[in-house]
Each structure stands twice: as structure tokens, then as C-alpha cells.
């Protein structure tokens, strides 16, 4: 019945387009996320439908685009949703809908997240990448994070958690671990020799992830943490929690090359190797 109600909202709101302003329905959903070893944990996500799915939901806009956000909260608690750089902050009570406009005035990578019980609700999955750019070609998007599965259960049960003793056991790219990441077209880099490939990354977790690229160096195009690193050419870059970074790769040879967290503990899932933050890019002639 509840799902029917929210689907009705989706139907009604999705047709509300006024002039050049687009309407986007965003659902705050809670559910059970299935991990690479088939274990399930409580998690939350921003989705385009009332159906819960933790898959690194990306929101893409162009510079100057005006959008009406219709945020529908299907969760059992209220959420304050924020996009810090745009001064966007709105509270949506449980089971309620908020309609609010936003104009994306500048290019870049932004984070939309829940500030409720911060950082717990963000940690559960209410943190998405917003990409504002004009050229979408050969761009790939990673929302990386990690979970300590016992923390997810504790938060759901209302028990206290302490990030000072955080010891995650699952490591995800767009909600998936190796080898399932290969099935995600947003994440799996495929290109040709000479292509200009851009990888946009949001670390929506709490840990630092030191990503190492085989085969090619990359140039750092942007970092939300520090402008100092822009223009650096590296093969390993540590992405801090909350950081957004854009990396550009121009492959000079064909092949299949890994990209992985070089904290090799993060290449495991529930203490089993190799099921963590590890994938490959495939470059053809």
C-alpha cells in the first residue's frame, strides 16, 4: 500500500515540468543491501524510484541547469539533505515530500548527503555524487565506500557506534565488490588507446582509500580536498572520506590493467581475498 502511494507520487511529480526547468524525483530509501558473499546488511540510498538499491546512484547535470528536486522520504526517520557548495539544505520528514528548486551554476563534483545523525546516515549510504559538467563522453563514476557490517546493524537497532574503533570488513565501488564491479557500466572503464578518459570519484565512506592504477599514470584534474594536487601526475592517489576527485587517463597501449586500493586489506570482503575494492580497466587498440 505504502509502495503504491509512493509510486503515485512518482507518477504525479514526474510529469510536472514547467518551462525549461526539469523535475527530478529523488527517493530516500532504506533496505537490505546484498554484499559480494551474499550476506545482507541494513543500508540506505538515494534512488530514482521507491525501490531501495545501493548502486552508487549518480546525478548528472549541466552547468546552468535549473532543476526542481522532489525529494520523497520513504525512510522511518526524517532527513536533512544537504549539498554544501550550493547552500542547499532541506528537511524531509518521514513519509513526506519536499519540492525545492536548485540551479547548478558551476561545473564540478558535489556530494549530496544526509546530515541527520551525521555521519551515521551518510555512512549507511545516503551520500551520492552530483556531477555538473558539459562533456559526458568517456567519463566514469565511482562512489567508493566501506562498511563495518556490525555498525550497520547497530545503527538500525539504535545502538551506539564509535568510529574511533572503526574496522570495516567490506569495501565497495558503486555498492559492489570485486568481481561484481565489472558489471557496472558507470564504474568499469573501457576505452581505446589515445582516448581521454576521466574518472570521477566520491569517497562517501569514512576511511582513506589509496587507489593505485596499473598500466598508466593519470593527471589530477580536480580535488575538493586540496587544490594543491591539481596537475600532479601520479599512479596512486589517496581519496579521503568526503573527497571528490577527477582523474584523467590517456592510455598509450592496449591491455587490461587493475585499479585497486593499495591498502591491501581493502581488497578483501569479510576477511576473504580477493573480493574488495579491486577492478580492471580494459583498453583496446
Amino acid at each position: 500500500m505504502k509502495l503504491l502511494f509512493f509510486n503515485l507520487i512518482l507518477l504525479l511529480t514526474s510529469v510536472c515540468v514547467s518551462g525549461q526547468t526539469d523535475t527530478l524525483s529523488i527517493f530516500i530509501n532504506a533496505g537490505q543491501h546484498q554484499l559480494v558473499d551474499s550476506a545482507t546488511i541494513p543500508a540506505k540510498a538515494f534512488n530514482l524510484t521507491p525501490e531501495f538499491k545501493l548502486d552508487g546512484q549518480l546525478f548528472k547535470f549541466t552547468k546552468g541547469q535549473e532543476v526542481i528536486f522532489k525529494i520523497i522520504n520513504t525512510d522511518t526517520i526524517g532527513h536533512t539533505i544537504e549539498i554544501q557548495e550550493y547552500g542547499f539544505s532541506t528537511f524531509i520528514d518521514s513519509g513526506k515530500l519536499v519540492i525545492t528548486p536548485i540551479t547548478f551554476s558551476s561545473n564540478g563534483l558535489f556530494q549530496m548527503c544526509s546530515k541527520t545523525n551525521y555521519p551515521q546516515e551518510k555512512y549507511l549510504g545516503l551520500s551520492s555524487l552530483i556531477a555538473v559538467e558539459s562533456n559526458w563522453e568517456k567519463s566514469f563514476y565511482w562512489n567508493i565506500k566501506e562498511y563495518q557490517s556490525s555498525f550497520n546493524t547497530a545503527i538500525q537497532n539504535g545502538d551506539a557506534i564509535d568510529f574511533k574503533i572503526y574496522k570495516p570488513d567490506y569495501f565497495l565501488i558503486n555498492g559492489r565488490s570485486n568481481p561484481e564491479i565489472a558489471n557496472d557500466t558507470l564504474a568499469k572503464i573501457r576505452g581505446k588507446v589515445g582516448d581521454t578518459i576521466t574518472l570521477h570519484i566520491l569517497n562517501s565512506g569514512n576511511s582513506v582509500h589509496s587507489l593505485h592504477f596499473h598500466g598508466y599514470h593519470f593527471e589530477i584534474l580536480a580535488s575538493s580536498r586540496t587544490p594543491k594536487v591539481v596537475g600532479w601526475v601520479k599512479d596512486t592517489y589517496a581519496v579521503y572520506g568526503g573527497e571528490r576527485v577527477s582523474l584523467q587517463i590517456v592510455p598509450d597501449k592496449p591491455g587490461e590493467y587493475p585499479i585497486h586500493d593499495h591498502n591491501l586489506v581493502a581488497t578483501t570482503a569479510n576477511n576473504y581475498y580477493p573480493n574488495g575494492m579491486f577492478t580492471t580497466m580494459i583498453i583496446t587498440e
Partner: protein
């Protein structure tokens, strides 16, 4: 076509197209004594069968443009091994990732080939069940130096008089038990224990082991180049005394667009940095390193690199730190680089039984190349005698 062949032959003979072959023997039977006397089992790379594979493995040094072959001989009596050439951007075949390149089974040889690209600091490590094999000790530093001068960071880069390499890692002794080291083989999931390191290493040493090492010697108003690399699973936060004017100049084998003076530098797993230190003050102090848990960013270990800044590195400071001999193991040639201030009088190479196999008597101030390709394969001692008569000895291996 014939002219080209003649030209290539000429270039090869004169060392312009230098070829370098290095043998690394992958072993599963290493032992390491930790700071408190605890002995653990390790895996590692050795240069000969009788050698304990140490942590870290031998530092491999090549020149920019060298055509390099690393011959990895697996004498593990167990798991397959590989060599991943971390940061060298080699092609897929030579990348050392077992399911994408090849792995090397017990008693097989694997050959990894590359043309040494940008001068800089790189790593090598095994990529088979890498979480376990790297923790087990299968890693080392790989350095590429510019061709024109050994005292340059890169062509047109910073001049320096001396350099030091620091490869940092951690040890969790629970990972060094047979239960985890002797993991199942094949395409199966491998169980790893929770990671709780209690030993924090600088070039394989920690605590009193590190303190008992000679101080690093810096000369006042003189550039010293530090190559810093992290192969552990924690971050390394360096805290430099501000008097060192520590300048971050390069990372991951590339110059930075802008150098910057920093008192702290955090290096994450897999990263490498180049730092120039140059102090205008006489000084005795330490560079502090905190090992940060990547999940909490809390410091769980601390080590110190002791140093002294002196007015001039005189002849009395002619210590092993001021003589570099590479490559080791060697094939056709040996390079000696004297970064002390006193001239060297004589160089002799002896067999292990004490027989003189090679002698070089001309004086030199900075570096010399010895053509030693005629020596038979095996182990040698090189004895370097300075003007005052004091000596330095090093053990070498010829392939």
C-alpha cells in the same frame, strides 16, 4: 639496414643502450628477527639460494633508458609468485598480475622486461594473493636514475650530493603463521586474518634496531635527496624538523609542477615521494614518522630516523653510506659512486676464497664504471680503499 645494425652494435658496446639483467629468487622460507627478538616466518626475494630473503628485498637500481630484464626464479616449494613493477607502467604481459599476465610456479623462471622510463622511485612486489604475499615480505624498492648524472633527480632537476632511501611497512605477526602464509592454491577465496600490526618498519627495521643504525649524515647548506615509499597498509606521516627546509619535489616517478616546503608529509600505501632536505644549521635531531590507521587516521606506531647536519662531510665521514655500488647483482659492469669528500685510492674485487679477481687503481672523485663482465658468476667482496688507508667492503653477486 647494415649501417643501423653496426650503429646499434656500437651503441651497445659503449653502454649507450645498456642492458641489465637481474636475478631475484622468490622464497617462502625467510626468517626475520623483530625488534624484541620475536622470530617470524617471511616470504621474500633473495639474490642467491643460500641467502635469507630479507625484508625488504634488494633495492634495484637502473639508469633511464636501460633495457632491463628481471629473471624471477621461484624456489618456493609452494605458492606461485610474480613481480609487479609498481608505477613503471609496463605492458600487460609484464605487469605481474597472475590472472592477467602470468604466474611463476615452483622451479620455473619468469622474465619481466621493460625499458627504464622516467627517473624516479618505484616499487616491486608479488601480486599473487597480494594481501598476504606483500605482508609476508615480497617487496622492494626500484630506482631509476637519470643517464647524464647520478647526482641529479632527473634531467634538469635538482642536484644533490647524497641520497637515502626509506621504504616503510608494518608487520602483523598473526599473518606470518603457516596457517595464513601457506594458503590454498588455485582460484579459491583465501582467508586473511584481521590486520593489527604491532611492528612498524623503516627499511625492515624498527625500534632499537633502527636506533642502532648510523645516523643519516647531512651537510650544511647542501642538498640531500630522500626517496620515501610506502608498501604497508597504513599511512606514513613524516614530521620533518622545520630546520631541514624539506622540499617535496616529486611523486610516483614524476616531478611535481611546483615544489613546496612542508614540515609534514603523509604518504599512503603504494605512494612514493622525493624530498630534498637542506639545512643551514648544524643540528642533531630526528625525522618522526607516525603510522596512521587508514580507518581512523589515528597514529598506532611511531619511529624515528636520526640525522646529523655537519659543517662538512670530511674524510672522517667516509662511511659505507658515502659509497654506492650498483647494480647488485651485476652482469657486465659495476658502478661505484663516491659521495664522500675523500678520494679513493684503490678498488679490488676478491672471490670469497680471497683470490684477487679484479683491481682498479686510478683515483677518482665521484663515480667510475668497472667493466667486470669477464668475472665468472658467483659471489665476491669488493674492497674500496681511500687515501687515508681506511677501507669499505661490500658483498656482491655476479650473474
Amino acid at each position: 639496414m647494415r649501417k643501423l645494425a653496426v650503429l646499434l652494435f656500437f651503441l651497445a658496446v659503449h653502454g649507450v643502450l645498456a642492458q641489465s639483467t637481474t636475478l631475484l629468487i622468490a622464497r617462502n622460507i625467510g626468517k626475520k628477527i623483530l625488534d624484541d627478538g620475536t622470530e617470524i616466518r617471511t616470504f621474500g626475494y633473495a639474490t642467491k639460494l643460500s641467502e635469507n630473503p630479507d625484508i625488504p628485498g634488494p633495492t634495484l637500481i637502473y639508469e633511464q633508458g636501460d633495457s632491463v630484464t628481471i629473471d624471477m626464479w621461484n624456489v618456493s616449494q609452494g605458492a606461485p609468485h610474480t613481480i609487479h613493477l609498481h608505477g613503471l607502467d609496463v605492458n600487460q604481459q609484464n605487469d605481474g598480475v597472475p590472472h592477467l599476465s602470468f604466474d611463476v610456479e615452483h622451479m620455473d623462471h619468469g622474465f619481466y622486461r621493460f625499458m627504464a622510463p622516467h627517473p624516479g622511485t618505484y616499487l616491486y612486489h608479488c601480486h599473487v594473493v597480494s594481501a598476504i604475499h606483500v605482508q609476508a615480505g615480497m617487496y622492494g624498492m626500484l630506482i631509476i636514475k637519470p643517464k647524464s648524472s647520478e647526482n641529479l633527480t632527473w634531467e634538469g632537476g635538482y642536484k644533490f650530493s647524497r641520497d637515502y632511501n626509506f621504504l616503510l611497512s608494518e608487520i602483523d605477526t598473526n599473518w606470518h603463521t603457516d596457517e595464513h602464509l601457506l594458503h590454498p592454491l588455485g582460484h579459491v577465496k583465501i582467508k586473511v586474518p584481521p590486520y593489527n600490526p604491532t611492528y612498524f618498519l623503516v627499511n625492515g627495521l624498527s625500534g632499537s634496531q633502527l636506533e642502532s643504525e648510523n645516523k643519516k649524515m647531512f651537510q650544511k647548506n647542501d642538498n640531500t635527496f630522500l626517496r620515501l615509499a610506502n608498501i604497508g597498509y597504513y599511512a606514513n606521516k613524516y614530521i620533518f624538523p622545520s630546520r631541514l627546509n624539506s622540499t617535496i619535489i616529486s611523486s610516483d616517478g614524476r616531478p611535481l609542477p611546483e615544489a613546496s616546503i612542508l614540515d609534514t608529509l603523509t604518504i599512503f600505501p603504494g605512494e612514493r615521494y622525493g624530498v630534498i632536505v637542506n639545512s643551514s644549521n648544524l643540528d642533531v635531531d630526528s625525522i618522526k614518522i607516525e603510522y596512521l590507521n587508514l580507518n581512523t587516521l589515528s597514529a598506532e606506531g611511531t619511529e624515528y630516523i636520526r640525522y646529523e647536519v655537519v659543517e662538512e662531510l670530511s674524510s672522517n665521514t667516509f662511511s659505507p653510506a658515502f659509497l654506492q655500488v650498483y647494480p647488485n647483482p651485476f652482469t657486465g659492469f659495476l658502478k661505484l659512486r663516491n659521495i664522500g669528500n675523500e678520494e679513493i685510492r684503490n678498488i679490488e674485487i676478491f672471490t670469497l676464497s680471497g683470490q684477487l679477481a679484479y683491481e682498479y687503481t686510478a683515483k677518482y672523485n665521484s663515480s667510475v664504471v668497472l667493466q667486470v663482465g669477464h668475472l665468472t658468476a658467483g659471489s665476491y667482496f669488493i674492497k674500496v680503499t681511500k687515501e687515508s688507508g681506511s677501507e669499505i667492503r661490500r658483498k656482491l653477486h655476479k650473474f
